[in-house]
């Protein structure tokens, strides 16, 4: 009977090893109380069953990689690296290039970040530094409620509420004021890259703001007090004492939001217009890696077609994993190993 699993933070002194003196002591204390000898078998069986469950998690990841790699072999052999550099997507002639989808995924996600980052940091700063304590709980609960709404419901709302608003008011205004940049030109359909970016922004705000909030709360109180003691106003205290100390964690939160935006499927599919084109204007329709999977996977008739789609899935998988791993490292560096709240 070993004595592991002390409920203390990670990265502390190591637990006593199985069979070490400390563990033996517990055993020695307990054994004389028992009537006769207790079988070790159930204990060992339970321990291994739990280890198996842990192993299953790792196996799942292996399984995902295996499925994606095997499934995309055909397309990989047919196109190689050119797959990611070529913008033709033509199921009729069996020619596939992922460039328009990568472009759509990156542009819509970056657009979402541009909108979501200032808003989420503002909300996080307001909740942790400015608002009265009574309001704090309510506000953080309501922003997190946004995270509980299913993606398809966001899409539904976007189609019938957001897109008309963009078409009638926002796009004409943008075209008039910023049309000269070329980013806001062309007919205002409502549906398109801009709508996708806005709905993605609404969806990732809860993630970015809740993790930013967590990061801000671990900034030591004396940093704030020191800034105030030097005569800083509240904003100066927040800028110098809080935000500067939490920089790495906030960047981590942003990248975590990016990871979510890259893989988001339904809401984007419903409003982006689903056309594999690379256009400069944000009013134009686009297509993302996730939404081409959603739309075409069940209709993919040829083997090569299916394989090309799976290769897009594989690429999406690797990008999100790299992005997420990076983000977690950055959040960890601030919260010192207390794991970031899971993305539920």
């Amino acid at each position: 009977m070993s004595n592991q699993a002390l409920p203390r933070p990670r990265f502390n002194a190591p637990e006593p090893e199985r069979g070490s003196k400390a563990a033996l002591k517990v055993e020695a204390r307990t054994t004389p109380l028992l009537h006769g000898k207790v079988s070790e078998i159930p204990d060992a069986a339970f321990g291994w069953a739990m280890r198996l469950c842990g192993l299953a998690v790792v196996a799942l990841l292996g399984l995902i990689v295996y499925q994606l790699v095997v499934g995309s072999q055909l397309s990989w052999h047919a196109f190689g690296w050119k797959f990611f550099a070529q913008s033709d997507w033509n199921p009729v002639e069996d020619v596939y290039g992922a460039l328009p989808f990568m472009f759509g995924t990156i542009v819509s996600s970056l657009l979402a970040l541009v909108i979501a980052v200032p808003l989420s940091i503002g909300v996080a700063v307001f909740i942790t530094e400015m608002c009265p304590i009574r309001l704090r709980g309510i506000l953080s609960f309501t922003t997190e409620l946004l995270a509980a709404i299913p993606s398809v419901v966001y899409g539904l709302w976007a189609i019938f509420v957001l897109v008309p608003v963009l078409r009638e008011y926002v796009q004409p205004f943008l075209a008039k004021t910023l049309g000269w940049t070329g980013l806001f030109s062309g007919p205002p359909y409502g549906i398109g890259m801009l709508a996708a970016g806005v709905i993605l922004a609404i969806m990732i705000i809860p993630i970015i703001s809740s993790i930013t909030r967590e990061v801000l709360t671990v900034v030591p109180q004396h940093q704030r007090e020191a800034a105030l003691a030097l005569g800083a106003t509240r904003w100066e205290m927040i800028r110098v004492g809080v935000l500067r100390n939490a920089r790495a964690g906030i960047v981590g939160a942003i990248i975590l939001g990016l990871g979510r935006a890259l893989g988001e499927t339904m809401a984007v599919t419903m409003v982006i217009g689903n056309r594999p084109e690379i256009a400069k204007s944000l009013f134009a329709p686009g297509y993302t890696m996730a939404s081409v999977l959603a739309n075409e996977f069940t209709e993919a008739t040829g083997d090569l077609y299916l394989s090309a789609l799976i290769e897009i899935g594989l690429a999406l998988f690797f990008v999100t994993i790299v992005v997420n791993a990076l983000a977690r490292l950055m959040v960890w560096s601030v919260t010192r190993g207390q794991p970031a709240r899971s993305l539920a």
Partner: protein, 282 residues
Amino acid sequence: MPPVSLRRRVMDHAMTGAAVLTVLLVLLPLFAIFAYLVYKGIGSINIAFLTQTPKPVGEPGGGMANAIVGSMVILGIASLLGVPLGIGAGIFLSEYGRNRYGDIVRFVSDVLNGVPSIVIGIVAYGLVVMRQKHFSALAGGVALAIMMIPTIARTTEQMLLLVPQAIREAAYGLGVSRWRTTLSITLRTATSGVITGVMLAFARVAGETAPLLFTAFGNQFWNWKSDQPTAALSLQIFTYAISPFDEWHRQAWAGALVLIILIVGAVAAVRIAVRHGTLSGA
């Protein structure tokens, strides 16, 4: 104390104003979404919507009864597969995994948490649909289970770690074996926290659509077999929302409202059961 210059005071107030503005801007869509859901949805929910299957295009009426049941079946399968495995992995992490192996599992489950749901759908397609040669509720359940496991594992771990070591030692001291201690003492003490984690994972996958597109596939009719294409509420909302028919749009709103009520209802029911019922832990 020297007076604060006007510029700094203005800046201070401006930034406070900006922060308040961001809060309002973020709350605006939240209220808009809920208001529209209730406003558009409530008029369309009636007995027919809850008891009938979809009517062909052009005919008014019909409902999503098969989709509501289908969603429950898929979620049931997902929970059956995902909850025990997830809790098991959580027990491993907190009771056996305070070492390098645990760190690997911990990292992998965080990584799994970030995998896009549509990619999980591809995997379930390859695992189940390709073998069975047809879409099924089982495939949908497998996809959702894969999504539940990492969340449940990590929250279970965190909850078990909150249980004081002294309680475990007390059990060992009474001669209780380790597996009994883990299940009847540690896990039981953390029950309400573990169940909250499970419900979080459940709520997260309950509205998922992307992984069901090519696993459960959807169905316009009743289906009682777990190896046939099965309707799901979220799929039905998607199909109806992108259709060109007003009647279907109306039903999509109703479906969305029902979906949210079901999710919130399930979470609330379990919360109440944990607090008052037989499930209540220490």
